[in-house]
Amino acid sequence: MATGTTRVDGTEPLPVPGPTRPGAPSPRRRVRRRGERGPLASFGLHLTLLAAAFIALLPPLWLLVTSFKPKSETFSLSLVADFTLDNYDHVVNDTAFLTWFGNSVLIVLVTTVIGVLISSTTGYALSRFRFPGMRPLMWTLLITQMFPMAVLIVPLYNLMSRYGLLNQPVALIVTYLTIAVPFCAWMMKGFFDTIPVSIDESGRVDGLNPFGTFWRLIMPLAKPGLAVTGFYTFVTAWAEVAYATAFMTGEDNLTLAGGLQTFVNQHTQDWHLMTAAAVLIAVPATLVFGYAQRHLQSGLTAGATKS
């Protein structure tokens, strides 16, 4: 029965899975096998990882715990103090939170869709063809990705101001596209690189032109890549602070990044409301992230290590 359980987790059959049961070494074997640890090393490993996990989880957990406390108990050190949902009630019904949420969703969704759509053909061209202007374009994409917002924020602000677009969602959409387009094109190139060229060739043999090949053969295959790219764009735009703070003023125009700042600033100190709003912002983002995170590793290697 012992062998049955050990085989399930993919390790070699051992009488006792050493790493997880320190202090119970197999009597038959004195030399540890490869990948096994002594009880002390195993203890240290778990202790370090537990400490790291604790640090990683503490701030968000404390946020969650605090959001259920009334205002007077916000800073108490106890885990539960007068459990209440008042903070959530107040945030949703008495502040413009839902408006901010709507603004954020609108701006970020439009940015993501436009960004992925217009970048995909470029990613494909960069992945499959050699053409004059390819190297300059690659460099442009790379350099614009490292553009600091500080260099574009003032001219963009003045342009938006000139055309009366400040406090309009379209101002932030255009601005976020400056981040999203170079990034998406670069990522998509990485994904198209992983699709075998033989598929293009078979399409060509069957009489498709390059656009047909791209649209009918490659795009359907690239759907996971499109999804990951879109997801990254979504997360980046969702968490953007500087442009959102500078371009959007007035309670009804804010996005979530701006709105959260209104709870705690020079004039107000509504920590209890801030925690409830923060939880409401973080939960959907975390769920989306949790769903997409299994693609993270492949996405990173496709996007980051290819050049």
């Binding site: 390790t11 490869r34 990948g35 490993l45 996990a53 990683a56 989880l57 968000p60 404390w62 916000t74 800073f75 217009i118 970048s119 053909t121 494909y124 061209a125 960069l126 992945s127 499959r128 053409f131 004059p132 190297r135 350099i143 614009t144 490292m146 600091p148 917002m149 500080a150 260099v151 574009l152 924020i153 003032v154 001219p155 602000y157 342009l159 000139r162 055309y163 009366g164 596209l177 170079p182 690189d193 060229v197 390059p210 656009f211 791209f214 968490a239 602070v241 500087a242 703070t245 500078a246 705690v264 912002i281 973080a282 983002a285 975390t286 590793q297 990173l300 290697t301 980051a304 290819k306």
Partner: protein, 344 residues
Amino acid sequence: MADATHPVDTTPGGGTATAPPTPADAGDGRPGPRRTGRSLRQRLADYWYAWAMITPVVAVITVIIGYPLVRGVYLSLTDADEANVERTIGVNTIEATYDFVGLENYRDVLTDDVFWDRLGWTVLWTVACVGITFLVGLGLANMLNRVFRGRTLYRMALILPWAIPAFVSIFAWRMLFNERNGILNGVLDSGGVEGIAWLSDPTWAKVSVIAVNVWLGVPFMLIAMLGALQSIPAEQYEAAEMDGANAWQRFVNITLPGVRSVSMTVVLLSTIWTFNMFPVIFLLTRGGPAGSTDILVTEAFRLAFVNSPRDFAGSATWGVLILLLLVLFAIAYRRALRRQGEVW
């Protein structure tokens, strides 16, 4: 005719697109004298669909990045501020009245101690954040890169900071750091230690912002390094063990070389991100106390959008200088990589 239609042979591990052109397509990817023999018409016939495919992105980049960039550079050469830029109020448009002042802004900024102070702190901040994040990420990745019970749980807990929007986590940290009531000082108090002015003492404020940025940055580093570690073939470790290498020797001689190329990429990326990291400092300390935690980008933002009157020209000047610094860094980094034989 055929050059452009030949798809580049790309294999998952290859990334051949930036490799030196093979003889078949020599001269196509770069401007040069070799191309002069071919007419524009013929080149259009060869490349029109590649060019058509990149048109949307080229157009968008030109309009929303290129044009603002040029304007930003121009603004940095003027005395534009809140009072004299063109703006629309209701239906009235007020014309711009700012003047061209040449390099005056640059002279002012570069002769001012503030810029050099901020630059020094920005460099320290970037080096500290990237260095600590990288070491912690690599260490944790090494621990997670083995088979043991609870591995998935640890992994999920450790990447959670990445899943939460940064500005939300930063507010959570502000609450923990709260000087009078925060949980950190509460714990210190109950241990008999006097509370620390986390965000209002210049030195502790610097420590705090670095700590929060490391907290935010470790998950990315962890996932990237875990991917790199898993790509190292297990046979290499077996062979080393046969030869009697101990754990440390295996780490130095197999693991480190194995994660090198990924490390190069993620260190470059996170250096640029950290250098430009706006939200951590803006939301945690607002650059305070007294500007002691202001990095270059938050100072540029402050000049244009926090201070009154708004100094657009000054902010644009800082922006251009920041961009120049980053470009210099990227060039130096690329040189260093080339000298070590990396093809990038």
